[in-house]
Amino acid sequence: MFTGLNILGLAIGICASWIVFRVVFYEFSFDKGHPEAEQIYKVYNRSQHAGEFRSFDGLPVPIAKYIQENITDVAQLAPIFYQYFGEITPISKEKEATPMDGQGAIVGTLPDYFEMVPYTWLAGSPKTIFKTPFEVVLTESRLQLYFPGLSPQEAMGRTIKYGKDLYTVVGVIANLERTSSFIGKEFMPIPEKEWNNDRWNSYSSNHQLYVKLRDEKAKESFLKIANQKLFDMNGEENAQYNSSEEFQLAPLSTLHFNKNIMGTVDIRLLYGLIGIALFLVLLASINYINLATAQVPYRAKEIGIRKTLGEQNKHLTWSFFMETWVICLLALALAWPLRLLMEQFFNSYLPEDLQQFDNSFPIGLFLLGLIVFISVLSAIYPAYLINRIQVAEVLKIKGAVKMSFGSLIFRKGMIVFQFLIAQVFVIATVIMGLQLDFLLSKDPGFKKDAILTLTLPYKKSEAPDVDPFLIKNKLQAYKEIKGSALGHLPMSDIHFGNNYSTQSDTGKVEINMPLKEIDDSYVDLFGIKILAGRNIALSDTSRGILMSRLAIEKLGFKSPEQAIGGQVFNGDKNLEIVGVVEDLNNKYLRSKLEPLVLFPSIDRRDLRTLSIRLSDNPKEWQAGIAHVEKEWKALYPKATFSYEFYDEHIKHLYESDLRFSSVINLSTAITILISCLGLIGLVTLTTAQRTKEIGIRKVLGSTVSGIVGLLSKDYLKLVLLSIVLASPIAWWAVHKWLESFAFKIDVSWWMFVIPALLTLLVAFFTMSYQSVKAARSNPVDSLRDE
């Protein structure tokens, strides 16, 4: 039984470290192998508005040209200007060209890019490309997409029609061979018009920039010149809005973890994972030590006899290490299927292209090291005890009863440590669970049940120019459908943002706030409460808008009623508030309530999302959905019909939180399991050592429950000690996590007491098997004198 417990515990520890190592190795392998990488930087913008700082690595377009013309310290300049084409048509010699949908990852850049980022060139050369504007370099994968079966050499000189322009293939490069921040798949020169753009106050994630400086000193002068220019261009406007901005440089070596850059990885998360894996390995090792030590008295006789037969201590130690090593190997064998299972389970939590990068060699090395580490760590103490066994003593005493090996305090300390970790996880699990429940059940300010959402087709190939109101009107005919509305979903990332201002006696107030384009049924469909004024009508499109309570308050109106008819300016557009609605959560509940503007629209491009309220009776949903599909097929024959329930959509917003919590839940289960295994080992040992005492006490009149209490008391005290130590640690960790939510539960004492009771109960039941067994045994057996 002990061997089984050991292998299971170790397998879990190994499996966890295996997965974590893979992820960590993957994340840390980013952006290696660039020549003189320490001089390469990504440029980003840091702005300040009313004391709030924001970083963004989307830049104004003209900065690239300005740097090229004015900053001599820049050795290489690699803009990443994403290009979008509705249609791409590879021109084939063999058959008629068929247009394809536009692809992502098409990058407009300068030839410098290919010097900064080393690629394997399958055809063409970085020296000869981009001499003329209409040239394209493809990665192997894109080549196969456009010209299936063509070799890189054959592809040279072929033409592809991007939108309306014909481009010639001038190079083919291998797919990305390593993890990298450079994810472009097609490269072309930056269009002349874009290059000469001079809008310094417009930022977009489509325009990013890497530079390679001549030396370390160039950094300062680079920033000085670039920021001076930025100030010259935007300073005046910024001052007007009480804001400021500057460029900053993010070194390539740590770019993947730089929190100022979009889409990067939070390095703290990785440290957290490493921590969890380390704890699990440590817990498993502690278990092994505990259980192995518990067995030493039982093996003492065997060892004693072996020693009398002349076995050397050295050899004894060695064979014990080998035993541990074999157990670790068995654990590794078990960890393999366990890992596949876990990776399946956490698939969505792992980096997407983790599987693409082969790192079996470092992983193999890591596992070997891990096993050696674990076996040495786990075997040292028991081996030391084995060596201390005194032959004469062992052979004199019968059974394991009277022997005590090693310091009990040491083992008790390890139990306290195990339960301390377990308890931190237990508390975290409980509080995270409560918080997520709270988020999902909190009233967001609108109705979210029984709503179906569809994205209307927008690709040219799928959608004829159909007015979105057509499908909406058709759906009115069905009794199973209570209503439908068009416009940007509430609680979603889809919205625009704009500056709105009011003019009053005290001066001008300007606020940047998100806006959603909606139709006239929207407010009703989502049950958004109108506080004053009226709903918008489609005829309001020229001027009338709805604003949320927070929006009017920020703009300086005293009450919703007062705001009705209020004039609001957006640039030189003059708008009028026709209604004020109750605040609703626009994004999700991590963020605070934001002001919101609702704009009426009849424009097909704005009204791409159709929301349908189904009948209150779920039995009619099937029929309702069937009607929607029928109308969809009639209007959009080429587009596939798909829908999503809106409450599911909301759940998706918390997906990363839910996944994080499932990692924590699993870790909790594992740490509790491992800790209890350790407890079983220790209790088994001490009950064996106290058999005689138990017998005496029974003869003297103790009851079974009295004995169970006696045996459990000591260990429950240890567990209680761990809980007391764990609670402040858990409180601190949970507090940190909750800080990232604008809406959160109040942490209160029972969230610590209830998990504590649970853990005590689990510990008690774990021990009860051994202690009840001991307490029920016949004292005659343990007290026999022979």
Binding site: K692, G695, I696, R697, V699, G701, S702, V780, D785
Partner: protein, 219 residues
């Protein structure tokens, strides 16, 4: 006081029964001092354990103070025996982690006596057996004879009517053995019924009556 009728105890080995006690009929009056003798494996310890209800017979009747013990509910039986029996062992079986004082006190705790009562009883016993000076020592710090005296003091703490002793002098030298036997004689004179198992003819002679056992039967 104690009456055993047609008592059997056996272990099953496949279809065969190996008898440890075979048709035991025995009657012991209050105030008696009985020595049970016999070679190893003759069943004398088992008989003592059955009398003390640490072990149950497979068949037969057992009357203790006129009550049918085997027909009683376990809880009631335990109470009965706890109140009236004291046990003394060959290897003393003191609890190593407790002091002399605490060892003697333990059975009283299980009888739910108040701490004042316990203190009075224990002090009295310490006095009676002249071990007041040793009350704070641990068993390991005492000689075998002293440990057995503590064992007897502990057995007497609950003021039992019957004292069951399994080879009480087995681990002691002859001088210490004599002391214990004299102690038993004195206790018997004070009214305690004593049943002892012993190998030694000399010690057996302290009893009023000697039962010889062989192969699970009383000769």
């Amino acid at each position: 006081m104690i009456k055993l009728e047609q008592l059997f105890k056996w272990y099953s080995q496949g279809n065969n029964r190996s008898f440890v006690l075979k048709d035991i009929n025995l009657s012991i009056e209050a105030g008696d001092f009985v020595s049970i003798m016999g070679p190893s494996g003759s069943g004398k310890s088992t008989l003592l354990n059955v009398i003390g209800m640490l072990d149950e017979p497979n068949e037969g009747k057992y009357y203790f103070m006129g009550e049918d013990v085997l027909a009683m509910k376990t809880k009631k039986r335990n109470q009965l025996f706890q109140a009236h029996m004291g046990y003394v062992f060959q290897s003393y079986h003191l609890i190593d982690e407790l002091t002399v004082y605490e060892n003697i006190e333990t059975p009283l705790i299980y009888k739910n006596l108040s701490s004042a009562d316990r203190k009075a009883i224990v002090s009295d016993l310490l006095d009676r057996f002249h071990i007041v000076g040793k009350k704070d020592l641990f068993p390991a710090q005492l000689s075998g004879g002293q440990q057995q005296i503590v064992g007897i003091a502990r057995a007497l703490a609950g003021s039992p009517k019957v004292l069951l002793a399994d080879e009480p002098t087995g681990n002691l030298n002859s001088k210490q053995g004599e002391e214990i036997m004299e102690l038993f004689t004195q206790l018997n004179k004070d009214g305690v019924t004593i049943i002892q198992v012993t190998h030694s003819e000399k010690n057996a002679a302290y009893g009023h009556r000697i039962l010889e056992m062989l192969d699970g039967q009383i000769k």
